[in-house]
């Protein structure tokens, strides 16, 4: 009689064990450990010894010109990519949400970049951006432009990065907006058509306002993901641009703990915590928007 309740009680633990072990070692412990390391000054990664506990790493990181430059580039990148990609995605998602033929073809075309390696596709872009044989400069030559040194010139390589960034982020943005569009009650459109409203008027007076909560969510989600910009640097520039001119926050983290020898775990950890706080702030914002949009929907 006593044994059975015990086995019943232990059962959930057995089911959870593999998952919990893995999550503890590879998700929970790493978070705690990085926060701890960020406060240990002069931390020696081989012995685990450190001089003192304090904000030294943070002071060092925040005053490091490379980190500042990385933060500047990252913020600039977010400010370029997020608004442009959102605007394009709103238009394309609205069109995809109409009754169109070739729906399957358009879906495949628009969503394909989601499943393909950004490194491999980035190399195709590198090939297209090539200043001598690249197809982009060839197209520019029709416009009477001599073409840009897209990748090799520190004054224009940021734009190559932005173009690739927008192209990469569009599929996810369109998907999220499409699911927002599908939540709009078709009655609004029927009513507008009965009143004889023009297409553009419907778009700006009905679609955009009703989609506003989703648009805000998309802006926040995309801000988080573009703030972590890192992968895109490798296929296009084999690193952070020309003479480090495209340093980013995540590249700084990677550089401090993996490229430098001996690694500076303390600085990497402090920068990672700064990243976490930024992402956390955006996420709280996202929650607030979510709550707001649910209330709005309730009021409709």
């Amino acid at each position: 009689m006593r044994k059975r309740p015990f086995s019943e009680r232990i059962k959930p633990l057995l089911y959870l064990l593999p998952f919990i072990i893995s999550v503890t070692i590879f998700t929970i412990y790493p978070i705690v450990n990085v926060i701890r390391m960020s406060f240990l000054e002069n931390y020696k990664h081989l012995t685990g010894a450190f001089d003192s506990v304090g904000l030294g790493n943070y002071q060092k990181v925040v005053s490091d010109p490379l980190f500042r430059q990385g933060l500047g580039n990252t913020v600039k990148y977010v400010l370029f990519v997020v608004p442009i990609s959102t605007a394009i995605a709103v238009v394309l998602a609205t069109l995809l949400n109409q009754r169109v033929r070739f729906q399957g073809f358009f879906q495949t075309a628009y969503f394909l970049p989601m499943v393909t390696s950004s490194l491999a596709v980035g190399l195709a872009w590198r090939f297209m951006f090539n200043d001598k044989y690249g197809i982009l400069n060839y197209f520019l030559s029709f416009l009477g432009n001599d073409g840009l040194k897209w990748l090799g010139d520190p004054s224009s390589n940021f734009y190559a990065l932005v173009i690739f960034g927008i192209w990469s982020i569009l599929p996810n943005t369109i998907i999220l907006l499409l699911s927002g569009l599908q939540n709009i009650d078709p009655l609004y459109y029927t009513a507008a058509k009965v009143d004889g409203a023009k297409t553009l008027r419907i778009f700006f007076r009905i679609t955009v306002p009703l989609l506003a909560p989703t648009i805000m969510l998309v802006v926040i989600i995309n801000s988080i993901s573009t703030f972590k910009m890192f992968h895109e640097l490798f296929p296009l520039f084999s690193g952070p641009g020309v003479a480090y001119n495209l340093y980013t926050v995540v590249y700084y983290i990677y550089y401090e703990f993996r490229v430098l020898t001996p690694p500076k775990y303390g600085y990497a950890a402090a920068a990672a915590v700064i990243l976490l706080v930024t992402v956390f702030t955006f996420t709280m914002l996202q929650r607030a928007v979510n709550a707001w949009s649910n209330r709005e929907r309730g009021n409709q």
Partner: protein, 285 residues
Amino acid sequence: MTEKKKTRKYRERLTFGRVLMYVVLFIGAVIALFPFYWMITGALKTVSEVNKLPPLLTPGNWLNMENFIYAFQTAPFAIYFKNSVLALLGCITVCTFTTILASYAFSRLRFPGRNTIFALLISLMMVPYEMIIITNYRTIVTWKLHDTLWALIIPFTSSIFYTYILKGFFDSVPDSLYQAAKVDGCSDWKYLWRVMVPMAKSSLATIILLNSIATWNSFMWPMIATNSKEVRTLPFGLYIFMTEGGQRNERMMAAATIIVLPMIIIFLFTRKYIISGMSRGGIKG
């Protein structure tokens, strides 16, 4: 409902607005697809064709396989391909297993603090992967697993996001089914594998596909955790090939095609599952 049925037989009047709409959608599709077209045709070109001005829109010979043969025979892409497949199979097998068990426990079994623990785990999803990676690299080094294929599998043996998706499905299965099975003397273990798992086919397909895409395309972690040729996976291998091999664009495009093509094929057949998964919160980097 009737609206939807009408759609099929709907005959459109091609007004100016609708033509404009198709033009915009079509231009968008061309821009989305062009890098793939350029990659694949680039892979089929010869050296002189690739470096021609003005650029050739099509390769001279659509069946020119010499760059692919080079990638597989001279460059070590056969090894990279094998490693990518092994890492993929390892990650999917173990992660799917831990996910099924954990989802079942969180959805069906009773234990103190269940909902609190689950909510805490969910809140961990927002922690950037880039932060976690610092310690994981050290863990792997401490365990002397860096530069082995194990390093590409062991940190990915669980996923909170996939558990969240599958638990969501398990929650939607009515209680009465479970009670009925219990009355028939079915154990939890049997109920899970004989009833729940077969019912969850489409959720499982979604998480396995998302996991496959993420593992196959993973670049940052393999770059950090592996080094030698024998354990490189395709994206990292391609990156090394580019930095060491110089500017042979046609060969790089062939190697890039080798990485991209399997995912394109999978996507063409399983678009529905992938899109439904993506719309629920995207994918890890």
